[in-house]
Symmetry: D2
Subunit: 86 residues, 4 copies
């Protein structure tokens, strides 16, 4: 699986635009709930990028790793899951 970096960069551009928008909303004293929703929308876009990065990591780096390298990559995933699982 090849990571579609162009798509990911576009998503990051979107997130960047959202953050600029949130700054503007704060300065213009827009309604709190609207600001909050916009923040969560931006986090969701970042989450989308993260999912793609991790998917290609598993199907690329981890799949190809062997021996001590494989062990290390699985240790890293273990730490990551530890953070993600609530």
């Amino acid at each position: 699986m090849i990571r579609d970096d162009k798509k990911l960069l576009n998503l990051l551009k979107t997130a960047e635009g959202q953050i600029a928008g949130i700054q503007k909303m704060l300065v213009e004293k827009k309604y709190c709930i609207d600001i909050s929703n916009q923040i969560m929308a931006c986090q969701a876009v970042l989450g989308k990028v993260n999912r793609e990065v991790l998917k290609s990591h598993l199907h690329g780096c981890v799949t190809e790793a062997t021996g001590a390298d494989k062990e290390q990559k699985l240790d890293e995933l273990s730490l990551l899951l530890d953070k993600l699982v609530k």
Copy 2:
């Protein structure tokens, strides 16, 4: 890494006790926020069990898997991360 199933079964017993407690709280019309906190405490105990299960999965099943079996286990992890990453 050997999974400490005795510890995990104890945690699940704790979660079971918490759920019995939450049922009692509902019936006795206890304060909503207290019920909500107890629910989240139970979810956290389950999360602890999940983290242990997944850690031992990575350090056991996945580490030992090779070939097509390894591929499949990484596909499963990929699906799992897809659900976990927000």
Copy 3:
């Protein structure tokens, strides 16, 4: 909004059954990923109960509160949001 406690007690019964099932899966050394999925399913059921409890809290307890009582209930919600917002 009246809380449907019968429905919530049924959901908690479901969660109780799931936890019993998870214990059995552990003892019978079922596949880790299946155990993990079952744990998350149980957490989701508890989350459903929590959402109902909090919804009825807002539309009941908080809506009716006035003065110092209202202040306190909003403080509690503030603490809750602090825990929930990631």
Copy 4:
């Protein structure tokens, strides 16, 4: 409680810098796990802003609201909790 918008704008500047950093990391093919961690760090900064916004919302807008306005604000909070509670 007065919202410290200067602090929040600084946090948003930090998030903006992080997103620029993530774009650079993608282009320079940096290690997936490092990119993923940076994405989660940025989401955490945004979460911090969101918590502050919602805290001041509760202690400001909602505390002061009365009558139909109060009802509406509690409806909004109810929808928000529905999204946040997992």
